[in-house]
């Protein structure tokens, strides 16, 4: 089979938007701002050395926006989302949730981790009830709400099993509704599908979009999978590494509703080309990449595999 080559010249610019997409971005921008990050800096101290992890991060998200954050490893995208969650402190700058500065973790910002982090000693239902219970809701009310949330992700049959009996995809669905049950203003997701196999990941992405469509939630989603970011996001925040700073905030020109078929559409490919250019070209800042050695031949000269 010939290599599939898509000549760059034939792709439209990723900045080109159809009328419907443009109208959507206009209406999105007209919504109230949920999260504002301005002049955010984060430095780490270790062994007397100060490392700048995040440098001058500025962005804001609007209500019910789906924002993805991508970047090469070490760009501080996880640090950023942990700061938003209040699990880490920032060195300077502001993080405002509906105008209120964020200090420490709180129920207004839900979080989904890559490692599921379900409480193994609680059944699926009790896991979903956890947030409601610690926030002082009555037991009956918690139970009713938890069951409703489980129905939303089709797991009501598994209400009374323990997390270890679930598959990875099911665990992550429970983790998502556990966070959503608290009705947070914003849902932070730190590479939530990173540990899932390709097929499950695909289904989870579609499922997440479905959930997002149905409820009033703003999502900040960290990933290193560019296809995932384009498939899910309204806008993509591209970070560079060492130090982590914003390269570009891309408006994804792929129209909604999204489907898997769009992966080969022109706007999708154009966006992907731009993301790859930003992340892998190294034009912005040469990454300190390790050189892999070139191996000597260890088989007979006539014994070829290619």
């Amino acid at each position: 089979m010939d290599d599939i080559v898509i000549p760059g010249g034939l792709l439209p610019s990723y900045r080109e938007q159809s009328a419907a997409v443009r109208a959507r971005f206009e209406s999105l921008a007209a919504r109230e701002v949920i999260l504002t990050v301005s002049k955010l800096h984060k430095t780490f101290e270790s062994e007397g050395k100060t490392t700048l992890a995040l440098k001058d991060i500025n962005f804001s998200t609007h209500r019910r926006e789906f924002l993805c954050v991508v970047g090469p490893s070490g760009c501080g995208k996880s640090t950023l989302v942990r700061i938003l969650a209040g699990l880490e402190e920032h060195s300077s700058g502001d993080v405002l949730l509906q105008g209120q500065p964020v200090s420490g973790p709180g129920r207004d910002r839900g979080m989904v981790f890559q490692g599921y982090t379900l409480f193994p000693w609680l059944t699926v239902k009790k896991n979903v009830m956890f947030g409601l219970e610690v926030n002082g809701h009555g037991k009956l009310e918690c139970e009713r709400e938890a069951m409703q949330w489980l129905q939303l992700v089709g797991l009501e049959k598994f209400a009374d099993v323990y997390p270890h009996q679930l598959s990875g995809g099911m665990k992550q669905r429970v983790a998502i509704v556990r966070a959503l049950a608290n009705q947070p203003r914003i849902l932070l997701m730190d590479e939530p599908f990173g540990a899932l196999d390709a097929q499950t990941r695909c289904r989870m992405q579609a499922h997440l979009l479905e959930i997002w469509r149905k409820i009033d939630i703003t999502i900040v989603f960290i990933t290193h999978d560019l296809d995932e970011a384009i498939f899910l996001a309204d806008r993509i925040l591209v970070l560079s590494a060492h130090p982590g700073e914003i390269q570009e905030l891309i408006e994804v020109p792929v129209p909604r509703p999204r489907s898997v078929a769009q992966i080969v559409s022109a706007p999708f490919l154009a966006t992907k080309a731009r993301l790859e250019e930003l992340i892998y070209s190294g034009a912005h800042e040469p990454a300190e990449e390790e050189q892999y050695p070139i191996m000597g031949r260890m088989t007979h000269v006539t014994d070829n595999v290619e």
Binding site: A85, P105, R107, R109, M111, T117, F130, V134, Y162, P163
Partner: protein, 322 residues
């Protein structure tokens, strides 16, 4: 193939193999003991006299070293006297499994030999009470303190260096002091068990607490858990199965301190029974009573393991190794 599948690192056994090998772990040592006891060709360094013959200082049933017996026989033959006769025997401190098995029954049914003595069951019960109170008192303070030390680094820094120092002091060294403070009866014995258990307990449980997955704490925090709720809502339930396992191990340790503890002040309990029986050279009884401690200890531990599986159905590590 069969051999290679048995000796693979960390490979779990089939239930059948588990049972068979588990039984073997008892059958092998008992088998060895039977071999030494019942096969005269193996060891048997002494001769038990069945007929003293002309040797005046020998009685029926007396044990004599082989070479002494041989020279007596030699002398008698030489001088034309009736030689003594006897059968190969082990020293009386190594009774046969059969004798010990019989002693299991008889030691429970034999009335005390002295007026102030106790039945074996009474002695055992006394020992169990000492263990129980020592363990409970130690746990009442040690478990919460251990969890707190594990959860709060500052508290750990305040407590642990001293506890670390103290745990190296052998508990029996406090015997005399405890008698001076608590009298000669059960007080000092319980105290020795507490001293022997408590310091290890705090350190072990603090360590277990520190092994808690911090991601669970973070998840709880992002769900709006306040930091003082964390301890009861996340830390304790998360470590509970491991804590339970620690407590089982610590109960085993408490048992090992029992004999020393019971020698302090007035000797009591199973220790009193054992020393008494040893004094009368009733070695089968000594073995039976000692084995009784093992049976009680292992029995409680197996019961607790079974109970643990009921209590923590979600615990994976327990299901794998229990």
């Amino acid at each position: 193939m069969a051999r290679s599948s048995l000796f693979q690192v960390l490979r779990p056994l089939s239930p059948r193999a588990k049972l068979v090998i588990g039984i073997l772990s008892f059958v092998l040592p008992v088998g060895l003991w039977s071999l030494v006891s019942y096969v005269p060709a193996i060891w048997h360094p002494q001769i038990m006299i069945t007929d003293p013959g002309s040797v005046s200082y020998l009685d029926v049933g007396a044990h004599l070293a082989r070479h002494a017996y041989d020279s007596e026989v030699e002398d008698a033959r030489h001088e034309g006297r009736a030689p003594p006769s006897g059968v190969p025997a082990n020293p009386i401190y190594l009774p046969s499994p059969g004798e010990v098995l019989k002693a299991f029954y008889t030691s429970f049914t034999t009335p005390p030999e002295t007026r102030d003595g106790q039945w074996l069951a009474q002695s055992l019960w006394h020992s169990i009470r000492i263990i129980f109170w020592g363990y409970v008192i130690s746990s009442l303070i040690g478990v919460p303190l251990g969890i707190l030390c594990g959860a709060y680094t500052a508290l750990a820094r305040v407590n642990e260096p001293f506890i670390e120092f103290f745990r190296y002091l052998p508990a029996p060294a406090f015997g005399a002091l405890m008698v001076a403070i608590l009298g000669i009866y059960d007080g000092p014995k319980i105290a020795i068990i507490v001293i022997g258990t408590f310091f290890q307990q705090v350190l072990i449980i603090a360590n277990t607490t520190r092994k808690l997955d911090p991601a669970l704490l973070e998840a709880a925090l992002t769900l709006g858990t306040r930091s003082r709720q964390l301890l009861t809502r996340v830390v304790v339930p998360a470590i509970l199965p491991d804590l339970y396992r620690d407590q089982r191990i610590l109960l085993g340790w408490a048992w090992t301190y029992l004999i020393v503890a019971e020698l302090i002040g007035t000797t009591s309990g199973i220790t009193w029974f054992i020393t008494q029986q040893a004094r009368f050279q009733h070695f089968p009884n000594v073995y039976a009573a000692t084995a009784m401690i093992g049976i009680l200890g292992l029995g409680t531990d197996m019961l607790l393991a079974l109970l643990g599986r009921r209590l923590f159905p979600w615990d994976r590590s327990l299901a794998k190794f229990a």
